[in-house]
């Protein structure tokens, strides 16, 4: 087709959400008064006007086929006036104004194999990335990890068991698209990239690959008479940042790309300022299809948190209160030299006091 025949795009950008919003929500926009939690997975919001709306939160597989999508929309048509929303963690929220439709909706959606929950002090659905299914740089899968993990944590999704809400995230490379979580399961590479020198000059913009390295471990080199790159393996931190701009820098390895577990990431400003997650366990095998070792560590941490944390404490606040020595004592996880930070600002994470727990 000639360029002149091509259809120019309509640059409409982000669409107006009000056209897709439940009329009760449109009418009471900015005028909600309070909410209650009638039961797990259900919220009841009451507006200044006295109008109310029920939210039913449903966990999904996130990678949705159109058949499943239509099942979920038909539930919305039957019980929720045809209006829904997705949360940041890919749960569906149905909006119901008629209280008598809440239980039938739950029954119908559960009959189709979906799970209601994820509100208040539960373990809500994992946020995750694309993984082997569709990413170009993944060290592991994403949807499969979530499926395996949520199969194990289903009771904690469906009930209010936890001291406070628990957000779990996964990331399938060390760029960490998955974000901060109370518990995060992230890829951790343990060996420098293997370089396919025959390809570097063809596919990589070498100066930008050199610039991408966080520790300046990459330099241009001639290998077998061809321009390529070399890695100072003593400096290399195995982050894989060179791999996206230069696929011949092969960082992913069936054996040496491991998983690490981090805790204490929290976006909320409630009680304390937002916090970053901290390393607790590494060298966990990347073991599809169900990643039992990673799931075991997550369940262990959740068990200790559930038993020992106070109401409203997020995982990070709990560890902060009881101290890291107690965390390693309670979980039985090993404390190693790798837990001590050496990145910029690392001294701020050392204990410059005599505050010691015995």
């Amino acid at each position: 087709m000639a360029m002149a025949d091509m259809r120019p795009p309509i640059e409409s950008g982000c669409p107006d959400g009000f056209q897709y919003m439940h009329p009760t929500m449109r009418r009471n926009f900015g005028l909600w008064k309070y909410h209650e939690d009638p039961k797990p997975g259900v919220l009841r919001h009451v507006a200044e006007s006295g109008e109310e709306i029920f939210t039913v939160k449903v966990g999904t597989q996130r990678i949705l086929d159109v058949f499943s999508l239509r099942e979920l929309t038909s539930i919305g048509d039957e019980f929720a006036d045809g209006y829904i929303r997705f949360t940041i963690r890919s749960n569906i929220e149905y909006y119901v104004t008629d209280e008598s439709k809440v239980d039938p909706l739950i029954e119908a959606v559960e009959k189709l194999g979906y799970v209601v929950g994820g509100t208040k002090n539960s373990v809500t659905s994992l946020s995750h990335t694309q993984g082997w299914l569709h990413c170009d740089i993944p060290g592991t899968d994403a949807s499969g990890v979530v499926k395996s993990m949520m199969d194990e944590l289903i009771d904690d999704f469906k009930s209010w068991n936890m001291p406070n809400r628990v957000h779990i995230t996964t990331s399938c490379c060390q760029i960490n698209c998955g974000g901060q979580g109370d518990i995060a399961i992230n890829v951790q590479h343990t060996k420098p990239p293997k370089i396919d020198h025959s390809q570097v000059a063809n596919v990589c913009e070498r100066p930008s690959v050199v610039a991408r390295c966080p520790v300046a471990a990459i330099r241009p080199a001639m290998v077998d008479g061809m321009p390529s790159l070399e890695v100072d393996e003593k400096k290399c931190i195995c982050c894989g940042a060179c791999f996206p701009p230069c696929p011949p820098m092969m960082i992913n390895d069936a054996e040496h790309s491991k998983l690490a577990v981090w805790v204490g990431g929290n976006h909320s400003n409630a009680r304390g300022k937002p916090t970053f997650q901290k390393l607790v366990a590494s060298a966990i095998p990347n073991n599809p299809p169900r990643w039992p070792e990673a799931a075991g560590i997550v369940k262990l941490i959740l068990k200790c948190y559930k038993e020992d944390a106070r109401d409203w404490e997020r995982v990070g606040e709990w560890v902060e209160r009881i101290g890291w020595p107690r965390f390693f004592e309670l979980t039985g996880l090993p404390f190693t030299k790798y837990h001590i930070d050496n990145w910029r600002g690392a001294r701020a994470s050392l204990n410059a006091s005599t505050h010691i727990r015995f």
Binding site: G30, I88, H134
Partner: protein, 416 residues
């Protein structure tokens, strides 16, 4: 209709058991039951390649260059490196489409999008990717243009990919949350739709993200994940319904309220009175939201609402994770002028960063490199003590401009 070729998937089959919904079961349904031959074949091949990834613990997609006419970004090109073994999914590109603020849909619209995707793609989609886009996963190069032309006609536009302004995100917001302190929908659309050219034609140092949360609970993870985070807040007193507060005390007991509300206030701004009412030191409240979260019927944000803007949040690459930090402590967001001023600030920031950021350097990393004060001078914003957790600890700084700066401070205070 079934796929022409079925690949064995013993490992993936294990992901069909258990109580959580299975994406493998869903993909198999497309393979076995979809009446579009392309969908049946491409999903079958996808399962074959994914099984191969599970067996070998490696990914087999590579990027490339695919875009729709008139745009430079928004398609995530994927070409299979193992197309010889799994030829039907040789091309499997993702379309990033911008959702509404807060991700609202009618079921009719979702079905319509599903219909379009069935016509031109694999029938697989995700609501939503980590940046916030609807991800329509899996089509050919030819299919990207056809699908985009189709849905663009009824109101959907491409999101960002590459070094550009990215698709923005907002929380559920004022539409259904009593904690909301701003119109998240308007804020998102004012901001990101001012930069549609920068969304569609990547030409910035790296990605730039806007995220909006209606209150400091920050359900949208804006502070940690957005270059430009807008957080709803208020500056008058929080609203207290003492009768409802007493109801909580009666229901839960004084000890519970002391342990879970009063002593959990980060600035010790709360007290429990002898008559079971609450005392609030609003001057020292930092709007953390905790007490309001515990007792939403008794406590509410105030009515003089607005936003705090924090700049520079991002994830790990390249210098480590950074939180956004305060650049605008408080700003009203009511009138057209208020929104225009916020957009102007965003323009200033993006322009300055485009001029001064290094290749692949996020805005927060640039600020880390040049220092907050140089950044503030670059975008013409005055310093404010709300921008710091503490003042300087190092005496190694040249301070011969002190008197002038002190005069400026008193002048600004006099104007306020």
């Amino acid at each position: 209709m079934a796929a022409k070729k079925i690949y064995e998937t013993p490992m993936l089959d294990e992901l069909e058991s258990g109580p959580w919904p299975s994406f493998i079961t869903g993909i198999k349904a497309l393979r076995d039951n979809h009446d579009n031959q392309f969908i049946a074949d491409v999903t079958s091949s996808l399962l074959g390649q994914l099984e191969h990834s599970y067996e070998t613990r490696k990914g087999y997609w590579k990027g490339g260059t695919v875009s729709v006419f008139g745009y430079g970004g928004g398609v995530i090109p994927r070409f299979s490196e193992v197309a010889d073994a799994f030829p039907e999914s040789k091309e499997f590109h993702t379309m990033r489409i911008q959702p509404t603020p807060g991700n609202y849909y009618t079921t009719d619209m979702l079905n319509k999008l599903g219909d379009s995707w069935e016509k031109y793609g694999s029938g697989l989609q995700t609501f939503h990717g980590q940046t916030g886009n609807i991800m329509f996963i899996g089509t050919t190069t030819d299919g990207t243009q056809k699908f985009f032309d189709d849905i663009n006609d009824y109101g959907w536009d491409m999101g960002g990919a590459g070094p550009c302004v990215r698709t923005a995100m907002s929380c559920v917001g004022a539409a259904r949350c009593e904690m909301s302190n701003c119109n998240e929908h308007a804020a998102q659309r004012w901001l990101v739709n001012n930069f549609t050219d920068d969304v569609h034609r990547p030409a910035l140092p790296y990605k730039f993200k806007f995220k909006i949360s209606g209150c400091p609970n920050d359900c949208q993870n804006a502070i940690e994940r957005a270059d430009f985070a807008v957080i709803g807040t208020w500056r008058d007193d929080m609203r207290v319904d003492q009768a409802e507060f007493k109801n909580y005390v009666e229901a839960k007991g004084r000890q519970y309220i002391i342990d879970n509300v009063i002593t959990r206030c980060p600035t010790q701004a709360l007290g429990l009175n002898d008559d079971n009412t609450i005392a609030v030191d609003n001057r020292n409240c930092v709007r953390c939201m905790h007490c309001i979260n515990v007792m939403p019927k008794a406590l509410r944000p105030g009515t003089d609402k607005g936003v705090t803007i924090l700049i520079g949040g991002k994830r790990t690459l390249k210098i480590g994770d950074l939180m956004g930090t305060v650049v605008v402590p408080f700003r009203k967001l009511d009138t057209r002028e208020d929104y225009e001023e916020m957009v102007e600030l965003a323009e200033e920031i993006i322009d300055f960063w485009a001029e001064n950021g290094l290749e692949h350097e996020r805005c927060g990393e640039m600020i880390e490199r040049i220092g907050l004060v140089n950044f503030l001078e670059g975008i013409d914003v005055e310093v404010d003590p709300n921008m710091v957790s503490s003042t300087r600890q190092s005496s190694y700084v040249r301070m011969d401009g002190w008197d002038d700066e002190a005069i400026k401070w008193f002048e600004r205070k006099a104007e306020a």
